[in-house]
């Protein structure tokens, strides 16, 4: 509390200092570009050091005499000089020039790349690939050096792993902080997953799905400590700042626009995909030594898994946007509907969004009120594409193993039922329903008060409320081994409820001045956040055999004493923070000093507060020169950031009641403290070749210590069967190089051609670490207790740990490396931590766009390299012994493997994950007003768009970009493929109309 007081003294002092500077003869105005207001533009009185930057709405207010000249520089935009001429209100419209001068919204402010001391990047709506992405995360894919986006599977709305400069934690909690319009979101999911009720567990959907792409103006990525330390304890994994669109400023006619698209999606096979056999392949490879009474060779039915389970999915998207502005107000309202079918039958995501932006100026612009409301209502339809299915399989497993010579339905229309562990995929498809409805409201109210022309006070109050209900049912008519409640009482229904209510309250003071040639930008603030989470679930098992609507008639269970199980939970986290930042510019020298003091209720009572300092320095060696090098800035940063994404109630001991007794579920650790990441980075931002190319080059090292980890019960024995969070010894070190380059190949009146490319190299290693922590759990026949990855000393995260396959011997038996290095049989094979790991060591992205007259073409590629994917599907399903009872790929059926050879986990199933994907190609044509003018359409733009057009890889599974959740004891895995939802290729026809 002492620290708190110190901060408030500082806070109040700032107030007083600020007020004393208040003087008369202010000139105010707005700086904008063709698209709207420009936050962060610099306005300087020519010949003086007096300068200000524009606020979020492009507004500025500066002290100037009536005959002064204002230099509105927004370098990269053509700078403008405007005479004050005794005006009190001046509007300036700048036209853009290059990348260095794009304004990037950062934490509590904005900056141009030219003036940044930290490693930051941004993409704006103009460079979004997708037409209607599931979530904002996908828009970053392949676009920003050092940012890797991996969708877990191809399911609509599937979880996405976002990694900024690698993984900084050995447990879960590697996701960056997401800030939407100034409101830092709580980590974690907003929709329930699926418990292990039927055929394995299911993952929750991506919590970021709630944002409509159409509402996003820009996405900034803050990568290094200099830029993320302002978020202190939550900055270690980078920060992604999403800014939504605003209304037009200044009086204008209301503008209405519509954008709509129709899409068709189908299963996208990569270049090396090994499908299971067709009927003819299946029958021609049947081994001769089958028992005489085997029915398999004589089967005459037919079945194709893709025809049965998959479909050509049809999707549509509609957005209507109204923007309007008045003298003192500006409003944007948009309504969107995005109805997306999944390529697996009975799956999809229907998303409805409403967003409202309103700003209102009072007292001649000294007080500015902004309101933003984002509301979404999402219906997710899922199926059993679970992540931990066993021998019996999930929907994909059953679809793949069902013999192509077996019908799924009999002539009388009934299902062809084989057995309780050889499931009819058609019956499974029809028998299961799973829908999730998630409603989320993110609203914030933002007041900024110009206390003087140099001092601005801003307060933001935000609420984030989500409610999600998942309802799943499996009909009693399908017999799946070990799922009956008792006897023949089958059928299951689950209802999961999940609610979040988060509050944000932030106050900042911003002081901008210029003293003796030093431009000063000071920020001080206080934040309070509260994150409340609660939920419940109900499982009902064992229904009447002919019941079909289980979810809505839960009372139908036969044995009410044993047929239900219920649970519920609730927890709250509070954070409270004080922070200051000083931005200093002197001539060519730039400095940013940041300090944040963060308190969190999650930590031990002895360590509630952590402090997070950072320094960023920059020097512009070359500035605005003509010739081959136009701008060159060197920057360096050091800082400490934290991570607090771990379970609530980890520092305290907690007991819960169950079945009449009470037991301890977590063990206290009053010393539990922040996991800290110390980052060191140097970088160069440059503009070369007469402004044709801009780019950045970065080197970084991040070292995470005090590794927060729930040590399993074995480490706390003797004691209850519950874990305890501790700060483990050891470091997790990430080192990397990033390059980003934008090049204007052509820029003439009738044609422009831009290329942008980025690459990042990254490696990580765990050092001085006491543990040997398994993860990457494997599932399937003969794979009990099998796992594939370890976290251990002197190895990269997610290093593979398994037998090293060395080929088949003359009898078709697999051989493996032995303890002495020789080649030998499985019985004596030796296991070792391999020099192969799951995280890509290189990521590439390439985008190019050409505009010629009314035509525009753009395309994007991205790729990942240097990592391995474990094909658990192959391991569990596609070994020779599984055939011909089950279908397998022809490559496995004709391999040298003996049919008696076990499917022991080994490098046989470990495949290189390298890939390059042609992720997007779009051709657009601008019809202008020529076509629909008669019905009031001012502008018409039509386009054809292709997503995920081709993937070049040697990987034999569905898709090398895969990350099925195979966590073990809560420790996440990476890069494991297991019966995932396949990825789609999508073609879209779209139109944008402006009225």
């Amino acid at each position: 509390m002492k620290n708190q007081r110190t901060f408030f003294s500082f806070f109040l002092t700032l107030c007083i200092v600020g007020l004393s500077y208040a003087q008369s003869s202010a000139v105010s105005g707005t700086v904008s570009d063709a698209d709207g207001p420009l936050p962060g533009a610099t306005v300087v009185v020519k010949g003086t050091n007096t300068g200000v930057t524009t606020d979020f709405d492009g507004n500025f207010s500066i002290q100037a005499a009536g005959d002064d000249i204002l230099v509105v520089s927004y370098v990269g935009f053509e700078s403008q000089q405007v005479g004050v001429s005794n005006q009190t209100n001046i509007s300036v419209v700048l036209s853009s020039s290059n990348e260095l001068d794009e304004v990037i919204i950062t934490g509590y402010g904005s900056v141009t790349k030219r003036d940044a001391t930290g490693a930051i990047d941004a993409i704006s709506a103009a460079s979004f690939d997708q037409v209607s992405s599931d979530s904002p995360a996908q828009l970053l894919r392949g676009k920003v050096a050092g940012v890797q986006i991996t969708s877990a599977t191809g399911e609509p709305g599937a979880g996405v792993a976002i990694r900024v400069r690698g993984n900084s934690s050995i447990r879960s909690g590697n996701e960056p902080l997401i800030v939407v319009d100034g409101v830092p979101l709580a980590g974690g999911n907003t929709s329930p997953g699926l418990g292990d009720e039927i055929l394995g567990t299911g993952s929750p959907k991506n919590p970021l799905n709630f944002i409509n792409q159409n509402d996003i103006e820009s996405i900034s990525v803050l990568k290094d400590a200099s830029s993320t330390a302002i978020y202190g304890s939550r900055g270690a994994n980078g920060v992604i700042v999403i800014t939504t669109k605003k209304g037009v400023s200044g009086a204008s006619e209301p503008q209405l626009s519509y954008s709509g698209s129709l899409s068709s999606s189908a299963f996208a096979q990569n270049s090396s995909f090994q499908d299971v056999m067709s009927k003819s392949e299946f029958q021609s490879n049947i081994p001769s030594d089958l028992p005489a009474d085997s029915p398999i060779p004589g089967e005459s039915g037919s079945y194709n898994w893709q025809d049965t389970v998959l479909r050509n999915a049809f999707s549509q998207s509609h957005d209507i946007t109204l923007t309007t502005g008045g003298e003192n107000s500006s409003t944007r309202l948009s309504v969107g509907a995005n109805l997306q079918e999944g390529i697996i039958n009975k799956t999809g995501m229907d998303k409805y969004n409403v967003s409202l932006y309103n700003s209102y100026k009072l007292f001649d612009g000294d007080v500015n009120l902004q309101t933003r409301v984002l509301y979404s209502d999402i219906d997710d339809l899922s199926h059993l594409t679970t992540n931990s299915a066993g021998y019996i399989g999930n929907l994909i497993g059953a679809a793949l193993y069902w013999r192509p010579s077996l019908n799924t339905t009999n002539t009388d229309g009934s299902y062809n039922v084989i057995s309780a562990n050889y499931l009819n995929p058609k019956q499974l498809l029809d028998s299961y329903d799973d829908s999730t409805n998630t409603k989320r409201l993110l609203a914030n109210f933002n007041v900024s008060v110009n206390l003087s022309d140099k001092l601005t006070f801003r307060t933001i109050f935000g609420v984030d409320r989500s409610t999600s209900t998942r309802e799943a049912q499996l009909l009693p008519s399908i017999d799946i081994l070990d799922t009956a409640q008792s006897g023949d009482n089958r059928g299951q229904a689950s209802v999961y409820n999940d609610q979040r209510f988060n509050k944000t309250f932030e106050n900042t003071l911003n002081y901008v001045d210029s003293v003796n040639g030093v431009d000063i930008d000071l920020l001080a603030g206080f934040s309070y956040y509260s994150y409340l989470s609660e939920g419940s679930n109900l499982q009902a098992k064992g229904f009447n055999a002919d019941q079909v609507d289980l979810i809505n008639n839960l009372g139908g269970v036969v044995d009410v004493n044993t047929g239900y199980s219920i649970s519920s939970y609730k927890n709250e986290t509070e954070l409270q923070s004080f922070f200051v930042r000083a931005g200093l510019t002197y001539d060519k020298f730039l400095a940013t000093l940041t300090y944040r003091l963060d308190g969190s209720s999650k930590f031990g009572e002895d360590n509630r507060y952590g402090s997070f300092p950072a320094v960023g320095l920059g020097y512009k060696f070359i500035e605005n020169q003509a010739g081959s090098i136009n701008n060159l800035k060197l920057r360096g940063s050091w800082g400490i950031t934290g991570n607090q994404e771990f379970a609530v109630n980890s520092a305290i001991s907690k007991s819960r009641y169950s079945n009449g007794s009470v037991s301890i579920v977590t063990n206290a650790n009053p010393d539990l403290e922040w996991e800290t990441t110390t980052s060191l980075g140097v970088g160069v931002d440059f503009e070369i070749l007469d402004g044709k190319a801009t780019g950045s080059l970065d080197y970084f090292q991040r070292s995470t210590e005090n590794l927060l980890f729930p040590v399993p019960e074995a480490a706390t024995k003797p004691g209850p069967a519950s874990p305890r969070f501790v700060n483990l010894d050891g470091e997790l070190v990430n080192t990397g190089i990033e390059v980003g380059l934008n090049y204007s190949l052509m820029d003439s009146d009738n044609m422009t051609w831009d290329v942008s490319a980025n690459a990042s190299l990254i490696s990580n290693e765990i050092r001085n670490f006491p543990g040997f922590i398994p993860t990457g759990e494997l599932h399937g026949q003969g794979l009990s207790s099998a796992y594939s990855q370890v976290l251990s000393n002197n190895n990269p995260l997610y290093s593979y740990y398994m037998f090293d396959f060395r080929g088949y011997d003359a009898n078709g038996a697999s051989t493996y490396t032995q303890a002495d290095g020789s080649v030998g049989p499985l019985a004596t094979a030796s296991k070792d931590v391999l020099d192969k790991q799951a995280l890509p060591t290189m990521n590439l992205g390439l985008s190019t766009s050409v505009a010629m007259g009314d035509w525009s073409i753009s395309t994007s590629l991205y790729g990942s390299f240097g990592h391995y994917v474990y094909n658990n599907t192959n391991n569990a399903y596609f070994f020779k012994g599984a055939y011909p009872v089950r279908n397998i790929p022809v490559e496995s059926a004709v391999s040298a493997q003996a049919s008696s050879d076990p499917n022991s986990p080994s490098t046989k199933y470990l495949e290189k994950g390298d890939f390059i994907r042609l992720s997007n190609l779009r051709v657009g044509y601008d019809l202008g007003d020529s076509l629909l003018d008669s019905i009031g359409v001012e502008n018409t733009y039509i386009y054809v768009n292709g997503d995920n057009l081709a993937t070049f890889t040697d990987y034999t599974g569905f898709d090398p970009e895969v990350n099925v959740d195979k966590a073990m004891n809560g420790v996440p895995s990476t890069g494991i493929d297991y019966l995932p939802y396949p990825r789609a290729r999508t073609f879209t026809l779209g139109v944008n109309l402006t009225f």
Partner: protein, 514 residues
């Protein structure tokens, strides 16, 4: 206007201050425990941990029989690879990630914790002797399997990393606890061997003394010098027992009665886990004894897994006993033939359907003939499902709801320990009489008394009851080459590795060599 701004500012700054929180964390869906008060435990909770160990084949047999010469778990094509854990256990190549040893470690240590909860509750003083006995039993298991025992001076203070008793210190603790329990427990009453009793404490003390040379010897020692005083102590404890061998009944009826439906009535049971369908105090589970090895197509059906090795089976044919003549290896009744089709004990040869006439076929359509030869990885396609003799120790009945109690200690074990103690220098025992008693009960004649013969008799009498690893270590044969392990093992394997997770407690060092 400025006033208004100041006014707003004041309000907001005030709000900021008011909104300051002390960040005290709340447990909204539970309670923050105070001392031991928020963890309930009773004797049943402690007993549940004993059951958790003995009711799971991968623990009770997996870590006590499979590392020895009796049991192996062959990989059969796509089945039973299980991340190599069965092969590693049998061939002594396991590491600190082995799930069976790690799981057992957690069970023993949770049992110790739960026993402490009972012992600290004066309201449960009637159960203190039993809790202390079971705590001593967990100590015995920890000393036997892992060597060290972590402990806390204040067992409720989970904020501190546990300290560690060395093997010798833990041994002394176990003896003290078992002795204390002995003086406070009631005498055993026949038919109530599921209640901890003086005979059970005597058995535990006898075992502790029998193994003292192993438990307190130099780490890595492979041969042991047994102190005559320990042997005499073991003999004395066994002499004091009130349990008796089930009456002589040379066709094996009395032997198999110990493993049948009503075995709780056997005078031979010293300590067992009660199994009675519908009974609140039923904690035992024996059905894995017939599930684990039985073929999928057998009745009762099983998992077609672990086997008894031929080398071990041959113990039954020693001393001129013809194959099939030792009723402990083969037990057949009309009822068993009718309900399962086969004899029990060691199942070999052609397997039949209930009734005993129709042959069972495997999933490949081949006659199911259990063969003696079995490799660690079965690659012969015809033998994949049939390689290896299968074992049924508990008599199958009510296949899904068995009622036989799960035996932990029984009197034949005590008799053979007493014979061994006498042969190792203890006074007061009669090795010949004890050995003869065990053999005569199943109609077998006297054999000479020697340590080797006691060792072999233990193999025949106590097969798959969880004693083999402990016996082999005491006899110095544990590391030797065996049927499916060609070389002598490193002495480090005399102890299991501590689970990798346990080493995250900085006070715990891995056992030497791992």
């Amino acid at each position: 206007m400025k006033n208004l701004i100041n006014y707003i500012t004041t309000i907001i700054v005030t709000l900021s201050i008011v909104s300051c929180t002390d960040l005290e964390e709340q447990a909204l869906d539970g309670v923050v425990p105070t001392g031991s008060g928020s963890a309930s435990a009773d004797l049943r909770g402690v007993l549940n941990e004993v059951a958790a160990f003995h009711n799971e084949w991968a623990r009770h047999l997996g870590i006590q029989e499979m590392p020895g010469d009796a049991m192996a778990g062959p990989t059969r094509g796509g089945d039973w690879d299980d991340n190599a854990v069965l092969r590693q256990m049998h061939t002594h190549t396991l590491g600190s990630d082995h799930p069976w040893t790690a799981g057992s470690y957690n069970i023993f240590m949770t049992g110790i914790y739960k026993a402490d909860l009972v012992l600290s509750d004066s309201g449960q003083s009637a159960d203190h002797a039993a809790a202390k006995f079971m705590k001593a039993y967990f100590y015995y298991q920890m000393i036997d399997k892992f060597g060290v025992v972590p402990y806390r001076a204040d067992y409720t203070d989970m904020t501190q990393d546990a300290s560690v008793y060395s093997r010798s210190e833990a041994f002394a603790e176990a003896v003290t606890m078992a002795t204390d329990a002995l003086s406070n427990l009631p005498e055993k009453v026949d038919g109530q061997a599921d209640k901890p009793n003086k005979d059970a404490a005597r058995m535990l003390l006898a075992k502790l003394h029998m193994n003292r040379a192993v438990f307190t010897g130099e780490p890595g020692a492979t041969t042991f010098t047994f102190d005559a005083a320990d042997m005499t102590a073991a003999i004395d404890y066994i002499d004091d027992m009130v349990s008796t061998l089930k009456e002589d009944d040379s066709d094996g009826t009395s032997y198999w009665f110990n493993f049948d439906k009503d075995n709780d009535q056997s005078s031979e049971l010293i300590w067992a886990l009660k199994q009675e369908q519908g009974a609140d105090d039923s904690v035992g589970g024996t059905s894995y004894h017939w599930r684990m090895g039985q073929h999928y197509n057998q009745t009762p059906d099983g998992w077609n897994g672990p086997v008894m090795l031929g080398e071990y089976y041959d113990y039954f044919q020693e001393n001129g006993v013809a194959e099939g003549s030792d009723p402990r290896a083969t037990w057949s009744t009309d009822e068993l033939t009718a309900t399962t089709g086969n004899s029990i004990g060691v199942q070999r040869g052609q397997i039949y359907k209930p009734g005993g006439t129709d042959k069972v076929k495997d999933r490949n359509g081949l006659d199911l003939v259990f063969s003696k030869d079995v490799p660690l990885v079965v690659t012969d396609k015809a033998a994949i499902e049939s390689a290896g003799y299968r074992i049924i120790k508990y008599v199958p009945h009510n296949f899904n709801e068995p009622e036989s109690d799960m035996i932990i200690f029984r009197y034949a074990d005590a008799l053979l320990l007493r014979a061994e103690a006498a042969l190792r220098g203890g006074t007061g025992g009669d090795a010949q009489a004890d050995l003869d008693a065990v053999r005569a009960r199943v109609g077998l004649g006297s054999i000479t008394t020697s340590l080797d013969n006691v060792y072999a008799e233990r193999a025949r009498e106590l097969w798959f009851e969880g004693h083999r690893r402990n016996d082999m270590i005491r006899w110095g044969t544990f590391l030797s080459a065996k049927e499916l392990k060609s070389a002598e093992s490193d002495p480090k394997y005399l102890l299991f590795p501590l689970p990798a997770d346990a080493l995250l407690n900085p006070n715990i060092d891995q056992n030497p060599g791992y």
